[in-house]
């Protein structure tokens, strides 16, 4: 009986050992990435998660450990500590708030695990604590919107409208939010070089459809047909404003040229109907770029401190072709 037990034990030990070795070999092949997501607070965020998870599945050399922080920093710090304890190869996360990350990032640095910031920045004095920050550049989005206008206004404007004095109205995002501030600044920066464009009205539409509609209604009552261009900080406000313009009796996209930011599906539908002229992408689809960066890191390459998301500008004429590709 004893003999049998001993043999069984030996076999068991050997199997475990073999499994361990195999496991270690497997792990060597795979780059283990720990990703801590903020939560699922908006459609944009859901698309962001979806992009990261599905991209990880596509790459055989990547193993993703995904953790949802449900909008709480303490959960996120716990997740990061877990990743460190498990000895993952790379940590990536979208910080829920900007401050309070220094201790846990130091722990990661001590353990020799590189950290990638995804779509939001952290506020820490020691910027060696993270390797790179990838995400959209809101200022650049504002610039792109302005550039598209400057280059294309003459082509799309109503023939009888002047191209020397162009009256722009702006629908800002939520007052004080980073995208609202940056998209406004980027737009103004480029428009300085194009004095024909004059912003005559600028109000906050809170990034929502109903506010966008209400504010545009008031703009139209005040300025009427004098408005040549609408620049909206997101597509939802633009879609609300389009309804207001139609109810006012003007043709959106023709009488008033409309540019907005985000490139959500609704914007493409509006462009196909000819009611929106151009949308500048602000993409949540960070998955491919994230794992490219991870692979570069594993290959020993140094990453730039700032990786700007690859984003396009979509004018109305490509809308029909692009719509089926939109994931958000």
């Amino acid at each position: 009986m004893k003999h049998v037990m001993k043999t069984a034990l030996k076999v068991f030990a050997l199997t475990v050992a073999a499994l361990l070795v195999a496991g270690a070999a497997m792990a060597k092949d795979k780059i283990v990435v720990g990703f801590s997501q903020i939560g699922a607070e908006s459609a944009w965020r859901v698309a962001n998660t979806e992009s990261i998870v599905s991209e990880a599945k596509k790459r055989p050399n990547i193993e993703l450990k995904f953790s949802d922080a449900q909008q709480k920093q303490e959960n996120q710090i716990k997740a990061l500590r877990n990743f460190i304890a498990q000895g993952v190869d790379v940590i990536a996360f979208s910080p829920v708030v900007e401050t309070g990350w220094t201790p846990v990032l130091k722990e990661a640095k001590k353990a020799g695990i590189p950290v990638i910031l995804s779509d939001r920045a952290v506020d820490t004095e020691d910027d060696t604590l993270w390797v790179t920050f990838m995400g959209s550049d809101f200022v650049e989005e504002g610039r792109r919107a302005a550039n598209w206008l400057a280059d294309n206004y003459d082509k799309v404007k109503r023939p009888d409208k002047s191209s020397d004095v162009i009256n722009v109205v702006e629908l800002q995002g939520t007052v004080g939010s980073a995208p609202a501030i940056d998209r406004k600044n980027g737009f103004e920066e480029v428009m300085k070089g194009h004095p024909a464009f004059k912003t005559i009205k600028s109000q906050s539409g809170d990034f929502t459809r109903s506010k966008g509609k209400e504010v545009m209604e008031a703009f139209l009552k005040a300025e009427g047909d004098k408005i040549d261009v609408l620049y909206a900080h997101n597509d939802d406000m633009a879609i609300g404003a389009i309804q207001a313009i139609e109810e006012f009796g003007l043709k959106p996209g023709k009488d008033i040229i409309i540019v907005s930011v985000d490139a959500v599906r609704g914007a493409f539908e509006a462009m196909i109907e000819g009611k929106l002229n151009c949308t500048v992408e602000c993409s949540p689809l960070l998955g491919p770029q994230l794992f490219d960066a991870v692979e570069d890191l594993a290959a020993g390459k140094t990453l730039p401190k700032r990786i700007v998301t690859k984003e396009g500008v979509f004018p109305a004429d490509v809308a029909a072709k692009e719509l089926p590709n939109r994931k958000y």
């Binding site: 699922a40 607070e41 908006s42 459609a43 859901v46 800002q172 007052v175 004080g176 009205k201 600028s202 109000q203 906050s204 809170d206 929502t208 459809r209 109903s210 506010k211 509609k213 209400e214 504010v215 209604e217 008031a218 703009f219 009552k221 005040a222 939802d236 879609i239 609300g240 309804q243 109810e247 009796g249 609704g266």
Partner: protein, 349 residues
Amino acid sequence: MSFNPACLKNENLGKLVWPLVALFAIVVFNVIFTPGFFNLEIKDGRLFGSLIDILNRGAPVMLVSIGMTVVYATGGIDLSVGAVIAIAGAVAATIIRPDYVKGVIEYGEMAPLVTVIGVPLLLALLAGLWNGALVAYVGIQPIIATLILMVAGRGIAQLITEGKIVVFIHEPFQFIGGGFLLGLPVPIVIVAVMLLVTYLLTRKTALGLFIEAVGANPKASQYMGIRAQLIKIATYMFCALCAGIAGLIICSDIKAADANNAGLFLELDAIAAVIIGGTMWGGRFTVAGSMIGALIIQTLTTTILTRGIAPEVTLVFKALVIICVALIQSEAFRKILTGRLAKTEAGQS
């Protein structure tokens, strides 16, 4: 109850004077400084202009403040109206496009208008029943009882739409928020009808007196044989119904249900409107006053938007005007002011 103009003058009209003065002041400001503010045109048989915009955009707040007024008169408050608005919109949109959140673009069979309107309103009534039961039977403070649904309700709405904005096309339903009746936008007509119904119910029956009695002294009214608990539940249900209708208007107007933002902070506007209008907490109420209050708030918003005040200072500006309105309404403040004036005059002579 016999109609007595003298009594009306003293009791009701007297209360309305100050809010009316405030509204008048804002309007006069616009007459002088905002060109075209009073232009009313008829375009394709529809009235058109800033004034119509004010009534149209103010319709949700006006509706909710009708309900809020009666709740307030019973000594209660309803914080959950914004959440009920979000739920009503989310449910209506989901009935129209049940599979949209799963990524299905097709509509399937067009939902009949009765369901699209009826189900959300029934749910709103249910929400009101919940609020009312918590307040009347469980005895929780109204501010806490309705806070529960204020927080949870928006979450429920977001669950229904999965955090997405559900867009839809449904011609009959769009009529509620975007249609025209007799040249007027439908929301204005709905408000008028609700006002009439409320007026008839509270001023042509004893219900109005019951509500005021319950608010002024629930114990005494109980002894008098008024079923205070039932009255309270009824007012919360009525308030939730008003919110539900407002939710349908908002949702139908933008042809989409935005559970994150629909009706957000609207409860605060409604409460402000009721207080500006001069309804007492627990006691005499005036729906007309609340309407004027709602109009003051909306006229202010439209003025800010048409005049182009910097968005960073918009809220401060709004707050300043509302403080002024509240102050000139306060009898104590007016006494202090007139007292001072009298003193200085006496000192001078």
